[in-house]
């Protein structure tokens, strides 16, 4: 059943007989030693013990796990990607051209004035955006210490704000699952640097009061930050810039379907309004005589990655956007929203908040974690569980636009089969998976994080 570790298959300790002096070098190096056929079999086997989007749906709310068109991998494999970042501008015109086009395209999609592509992930985008906001306030001689975050926001919003040195002010949701405008009025002050929102929010609900919210924040001298995790539901329909957002990040790997790779890499470009553009990271790209050039914005915060983040993700996202075009992108959001609403209509769990867009949060009639494990036995990946906490035993579900009706029906059948189970049976799941239920407590209590620790 279980594949032995590489180190259990064949480990070799080699003497390091270096041309360097002894005092610089190690005596020996002990690592697995396998021939190529065995390496190939090891990872082939491991892959077979893993579930990806080509195995079936992954309706993880907030994560946007859609089908990743395989041609984008071919584009990423094109030799023209093999360019070193320290080439002179005139020697990397292909790269700069693509960066420029993608900058401009994202600015259009977000309704923003300027975009930096540098942040290597969504959370890095948040951090970058907050640093830009901070630099902007500081440049205005404005000393602000707080970032306001709704309680249902992504954990990264809180963490990024704290990392940038801000105090986090948590904003409760109202009964409808949205930002409570009165509470926001009470929360804003001269200390408010930023309000961070995702829209639709993590319940899938559009913040209908967004214009009032923007006005409140702006009147207090704060800025409005858009978390792009849910942008896929707005394509062709609405733009954060038009709603009053000053800063936003894009999760290219969510909205524009580059594969998640078991956790990454992604890429989290940020877009900003005109006033904030001078503070963006360096380098930016602009048109120049006969081509493109890099430049440093006048008040740049510097860098958030040594180079330009995950270049290949940029390439794939750009290819994805070109492939779809206006009509295709609007179809993405329409179908994502239709699929979520259809799926919700077919399941027997209660969905307390609506009208939702591309995702919904159902409430399990049992422990949501157990429900998820039971769903595994139906050959599907379960939704995000127990979050946002505003819904009891939350099943946060985002089927995405690339699931067919047939798959949605299968998913609904899995939900409903599990809904009919009693708690005892739920607790015994999963039984059809590579591993049965895994003991998390022991893993944390007695952490063994490398093969060295297994010998102990």
């Amino acid at each position: 059943q279980y594949e032995p570790l590489l180190s259990e298959k064949s480990s070799e300790s080699v003497d390091v007989d270096s041309s360097l002096p002894d005092d610089l070098t190690r005596d020996e190096l002990e690592l697995p030693s396998l021939v190529e056929p065995e390496v190939a079999r090891h990872y082939t086997r491991l892959s077979q013990m893993n579930y990806g989007i080509e195995s079936g749906p992954i309706p993880l709310g907030s994560c946007t796990m859609k089908y990743n068109p395989s041609f984008t991998e071919d584009v990423a494999a094109h030799p023209g990607n093999r360019v070193h970042p320290l080439r002179a501008d005139e020697d990397k015109q292909g790269i700069l051209h693509l960066l420029y086009e993608l900058q401009e395209t994202l600015a259009t999609i977000g309704g923003m004035d300027a975009v930096t592509l540098q942040p290597p992930a969504g959370a890095a985008g948040e951090f970058t955006g907050i640093q830009v906001a901070k630099a902007y306030h500081e440049a205005n001689g404005d000393d602000r210490s707080e970032v306001i975050v709704p309680e249902s926001a992504h954990g990264t919003n809180f963490a990024s704000a704290a990392m940038a040195g801000y105090d986090v002010v948590e904003l409760p949701s109202n009964e409808e699952g949205r930002v409570e405008v009165d509470a926001l009025e009470a929360a804003v002050s001269d200390d408010t640097a930023l309000l961070m929102l995702t829209n639709p929010n993590t319940l899938g609900l559009f913040e209908r009061d967004i214009e009032a919210i923007a006005e409140i924040v702006h009147d207090a001298g704060g800025l409005l930050y858009y978390d792009g995790a849910n942008l896929n539901s707005l394509l062709g329909k609405a733009r954060p810039g038009d709603m009053g957002f000053d800063i936003m990040h894009f999760n290219l790997h969510k909205t524009f379907a580059t594969p998640h790779g078991g956790g990454g890499p992604g890429q989290g470009p940020i877009g900003v309004g005109e006033d904030l553009a001078p503070f963006l990271p360096t380098p930016q790209v602009r048109e120049a005589e006969g081509g493109y050039e890099t430049y440093e914005p006048t008040h740049s915060i510097g860098r958030v990655h040594e180079f330009m983040g995950n270049w290949l993700v940029l390439v794939k996202a750009y290819a994805y956007i070109l492939r779809h075009g206006d009509e295709g992108l609007e179809n993405v959001s329409e179908t994502a929203v239709l699929n979520a609403n259809y799926l919700a209509s077919q399941i027997e769990y209660d969905v307390p908040y609506g009208p939702f867009h591309h995702e919904f949060v159902a409430s399990a009639n049992a422990d949501a974690g157990d429900v998820a494990k039971a769903m595994l036995d139906h050959g599907v990946h379960p939704p995000t569980t127990k979050w946002p906490e505003i819904v009891d035993e939350a099943l946060m579900t985002e089927p995405t636009e690339t699931e067919s009706k047939r798959r949605l029906d299968d998913l609904a059948a899995a939900f409903n089969a599990v809904a009919a189970m009693d708690e005892e049976s739920l607790a015994e799941t999963p039984t059809e998976t590579t591993a049965r239920r895994i003991d998390q407590a022991t893993a944390a209590r007695n952490p063994r994080l490398s093969w060295h620790a297994l010998d102990e």
Binding site: S33, H42, Y166, H260, Y318, V332, D439
Partner: protein, 442 residues
């Protein structure tokens, strides 16, 4: 419509089920913020998209690069692509459901094990974005774990502007100062560092190979100094160099950061794979994800993400880092590359990084008008070269021969930097010819 087609019948059935006549009716967006314009992006076929994007990429000339400077090229064997591109790996999510993601978890566990072996430290996480952000996270960790309130991070004066800028963004929030200490003869000036370090120092960073390509000869002395001042010692290196270098733990490193993307990742405009290892007692302060072992209900060994209470999705503003999406797929690739090389192959690759630059420097040094390397000592992959002519002119000259080099501001002097690995070593002849030609022309 690519990837998103329902048949008309299916679409009707779905719309009926949700009770609307058009998907647009499901959008609960006030008219006032509706976007009624167009992006003006024209859709195109898969084939046309490929040729458009590849056409853009082809606008960069085909050059032989001797660039280095933080992004290094090694030959990545074919199996790395073929295996890592298997869709079960490539298109999977973070392993929040470990029962169906044992394969990726095991690969990440093996990656962590590789880093532990290379660094000698007790624990390694399963990736950071790149070496610069890993250094930033190290400074934040040092700030969290240090008993006293010292708030200065010391970095060598030769650190690149790029690395330093990223570090400064990371240290900005908690108000940690970043300051430099001198290097002499290309490497850490231990005496000067001893002068500079004090109890306000939370962390000292030193890289080997350093920004000039030199292997630092006195890191044990740095380890002693940090010990004396209760500062953390953060060593920068990479997964190839560490195959032959003394494990940093042995001379007192508390944290090792660097690039593991030297394995598994060819030149890709600076994409990185941040390596992060530290002492076991910092376990609960580590940024990023950790994979550990446990057992499943059947009593079999199983892998799982663990200690997630450190992470942002649980701990929110008190998390050890804001990182969520990481570089997992690149860690998989690095692990495959390392497995393919085995210990012998990895050591051989590292030795080639020593021999290539050494031999190249000898040949350049023999040319009129060039001194290579500028600094005595042992180099790894890259070295600085002094030129009688302005270094930028030499770079231009080589560019006409299809060779890409760069200049470096080294103190007050602009110098030539040369990086040699397994993938450009055969072109060193062309480089030497070009340089010799310049000498002749000058």
């Amino acid at each position: 419509m690519p990837y998103v087609t329902h048949s008309d019948a299916e679409r009707s059935a779905m719309l009926d089920a949700v009770g609307v006549s058009n998907p647009d009716d499901l959008f609960d967006i006030p008219e006032s913020v509706r976007f009624d314009g167009e992006y003006e992006i024209e859709a195109r076929s898969e084939r046309a998209t490929r040729s458009t994007v590849e056409g853009i990429l082809d606008e960069s000339p085909d050059l032989t690069e001797f660039l280095g400077g933080g992004h290094y090229d090694h030959y990545v064997p074919s199996v790395v692509d073929h295996l890592s591109l298997r869709s079960e790996f490539l298109t999977s999510y973070t392993q929040y459901q470990p029962e169906i993601t044992q394969g990726f978890l095991q690969a990440l566990f093996e990656f962590q094990s590789l880093v532990v072996e290379l660094t000698g430290l007790g624990i390694a996480n399963c990736s950071m974005y790149d070496r610069a952000t890993a250094l930033g996270e190290a400074a934040l960790l040092a700030d969290r774990v240090r008993a006293t309130s010292g708030e200065t991070v010391l970095v060598p004066d030769a650190i690149s502007d790029r690395m330093r800028s990223v570090l400064e963004n990371y240290t900005d929030g908690p108000g940690i100062a970043v300051d430099t200490y001198p290097t002499t003869g290309g490497t850490v000036d231990v005496n000067a560092l001893a002068e500079r370090i004090d109890d306000d120092t939370s962390m000292v960073y030193a890289a080997t190979p350093n920004a000039r390509g030199l292997l630092e000869p006195d890191l044990d002395a740095v380890g002693d100094l940090t010990d004396e001042h209760d500062a953390l010692f953060c060593v920068g290196s990479d997964a190839v160099a560490l195959a032959v270098l003394e494990p940093p733990e042995s001379y007192g490193a508390d944290i090792v950061v660097g690039d593991a993307g030297v394995l598994g990742l060819p030149t890709t405009y600076g994409m990185g794979l941040g390596l992060f290892a530290c002492r076991e007692d910092f376990l609960r302060q580590v940024p990023g994800r950790l994979v550990g072992t446990s057992e499943d209900a059947a009593g079999n060994r199983a892998y799982t993400l663990t200690l997630q209470t450190r992470e942002q999705h649980i701990r929110r503003e008190r998390a050890t880092s804001n990182i969520c999406t990481n570089q997992a797929w690149l860690a998989l690739r690095a692990a495959i590359h390392a497995a393919w090389l085995g210990p012998d192959g990895l050591v051989d690759l590292a030795e080639e990084c020593v021999a290539g630059v050494r031999e190249t420097c000898e040949r350049i040094d023999a040319l009129d008008g060039f001194t290579a390397p500028v600094y005595d000592g042992h180099h790894f992959r890259e070295a600085l070269v002094d030129t009688d002519a302005p270094a930028a002119d030499v770079v231009d000259h080589c560019r006409h021969a299809g060779l890409a080099l760069r200049t470096v501001e080294d103190g007050d002097t602009e110098r030539l930097a040369v990086c040699v690995t397994d993938t450009n070593r055969e072109q060193v002849d062309a480089l030497v010819d070009a340089l010799a030609g310049y000498g002749g022309a000058a």
